[in-house]
Symmetry: C2
Subunit: 346 residues, 2 copies
DNA sequence: CGCACTTACCCAATCGATTGGGTTGTTGGC
DNA sequence: GCCAACAACCCAATCGATTGGGTAAGTGCG
């Protein structure tokens, strides 16, 4: 790698061609397809000379020009609620890795989960002529997806699913069930759920998985034991306050559909003088790197965030290649830690 | 906004032009510059007709084509150690906002702080023809920056600084000083520093600010009280273990140059039976959203992460406009919380 | 020896926007 | 009434890569 921008000027196909005394189109064909097109385009010797010179000059094709001609930018647009949400950040890392392996670059944008922003950011991505979109902030009731589909914009969902569209998600229902089995098994009979935002399938599915399994096990969950909330610590704290405000007894276990909400809930419990993992069990979701590091390590459902991102890229590639793709739900695993490791007498 | 991709086909300048019976170049001039060039290019009436039609058809210029011609992509490349580091994620949000306001889009990539990756990602950005780079993972000893400068690649640093290059950072030296003042004021005399990675100016400056001020106050810091470490919880834990292993006494206060390291250190203290905020004070850096939410809220130096990102964009814009730019250091503020709120008798 | 095939290339149009340089038609000044 | 100075446009080249369609030289074979 000598210099990719020799002397300030960028090397073009034409430069290579004229230096070798052949036509740019020939150079293009040689450099373009590993061997398919290159085969009939030039002699082995010429091909080698071209490749050699390209390497020496540090030639890199101008994606602008190529894209203009081919109508493909090799760009994937990614929309997430916010990148400062660790969960999405990790999924994005998976995306970026997988995309790079396929020769794609990615754009990310934050929608802050606001419909208006989702629209704006989507349009902005399309204006940038991305080849396709990975949507990580889908709302269950959004008309945007249907509109995009009818406009034939290639896209897949990630993290959250919406029936009818291809998605790469965690099997959130299963995740909720795992927590129900665990808490039930530890002898808990009085539980509450910090359920997240009702427009997100992650929240809905985790909650439904938990509640349905709980009832199947013979447990009861009164309606006011399920509290919808924001996904952040503040939301978790408020939800926990609401739960603790009901009546004079408190549940012996809380399931928060998100680690941050769980952390907020732990704070609320503490300030009510309740010992996490002693008086009240708490289980979170996603197993973010913090869960295990907390003073009282948090039990959490580990979702394969990196793989969800990678899978989303595979799916989108499939869509871009015109294949029919199926939604994929990756299996989560429950990690039990101190916050829910005590047994309650039945 | 009717449709930006009407009937599957994208609207081009030529489409607009032919529909209005005028030349594409005229349309371009009208749509291009708000009024400067547009003034002499067409009558007010025509200009209005063009703008109206453009709006109706949802015309959006093809950045590929424009970029090809103008040699500017309106793309800024951003390189960070990792986006799943909350600090960088927030800076990136600042970047993306500010860039969008200026009509730029941004690419992010993770270098994992590995020199090899830094190089690779940088080249990858340049291959994408970004107009300039915002480098958030600069190493103090890196030759890469000098090389980029000699290649005349427009770039600015963010988060970490390196003398000789424009950067947008927190005033980390001041941050360290604030912590020294605080801990000294609370009566601590035996302290240790979890110093971070020695190749990062953030770590070096925060440590130097602390140590120099501490000594100026008349305190002593033996060499083995400064332990270099990774920036994550694991690194903080290990560093704390090292500190606690020295001799039979322990310091009464720890300054970790990063919240995550501080959290790791808190864990180590706990497992040594030491009460955070009671036996040992702990202060972190950055005041990430977690600091205040921890069971024992963590004192931390609040750095203006969002503004650092925004400032980096301003700087890069300056560089791109050919202006001379000065490095900017934004002032941090110390947030004292329970973890360091107790007074030690001198 | 001649003709069909290859092989190894070259030509030129094209993608969509931009821009330096025209070309009309009209108005104003003297 | 004539020329300069606009106003309002049009023309065509250009950016760099791609690609459908040549073409000339060489090879094989009957």
């Amino acid at each position: 790698m000598e210099e990719s921008t020799a002397g300030g000027r960028t090397i073009t196909l034409k430069d290579l061609a004229s230096e070798l005394g052949i036509h740019p189109s020939t150079v293009s064909r040689i450099l373009h397809s590993g061997s398919e097109v290159a085969r009939g385009a030039a002699s082995v010797a010429t091909a080698e000379r071209v490749r050699e010179l390209a390497r020496k000059r540090g030639y890199s094709p101008d994606p602008q020009a190529a894209g203009l001609r081919t109508r493909r930018t090799h760009l994937m647009g990614v929309i997430v609620p916010r990148l400062s949400d660790l969960v999405l950040a990790i999924m994005y890392e998976g995306i970026d890795e997988a995309a790079a392996e396929l020769g794609y670059s990615t754009f990310v944008m934050n929608s802050r989960d606001e419909p208006e922003e989702q629209r704006r950011k989507t349009e902005s991505m399309l204006a940038r002529r991305v080849d396709g979109l990975i949507i990580g902030d889908a709302h269950l009731d959004s008309g945007l997806l249907r509109e995009l589909a009818s406009r034939k914009v290639p896209f897949v969902l990630m993290n959250r699913r919406v029936p009818g569209f291809p998605s790469a998600t965690c099997d959130d229902v299963l995740g909720g069930e795992l927590v129900a089995d665990h808490l039930w098994g530890m002898g808990h009979r009085d539980v509450a759920v910090i359920a997240g935002e009702p427009y997100a399938s992650t929240a809905v599915d985790r909650t439904a998985g938990f509640v349905d399994r709980w009832r199947a096990l013979g447990g009861k969950i009164p309606p006011d034991a399920v509290v919808w909330s924001r996904f952040d610590t503040g939301g978790g704290r408020e939800a926990a306050e609401t739960i603790l405000a009901h009546g004079n007894s408190h549940p012996t276990a809380l399931f928060a559909v998100n680690d941050f909400a769980a952390i907020g809930a732990m704070g609320a419990l503490r300030s009510h003088g309740l010992g996490v993992g002693r008086d009240v069990a708490v289980v979170g979701f996603n197993d973010t790197s913090l869960a295990a590091e907390l003073p009282i390590p948090l039990s959490s459902v580990r979702s394969p965030m990196l793989d969800i991102g990678r899978t989303a890229v595979q799916l989108l590639k499939g869509v871009l290649d015109g294949r029919e793709v199926e939604s994929i739900r990756l299996k989560p695993v429950l990690c039990v830690r101190e916050s829910s490791a005590f047994r309650t007498p039945v």
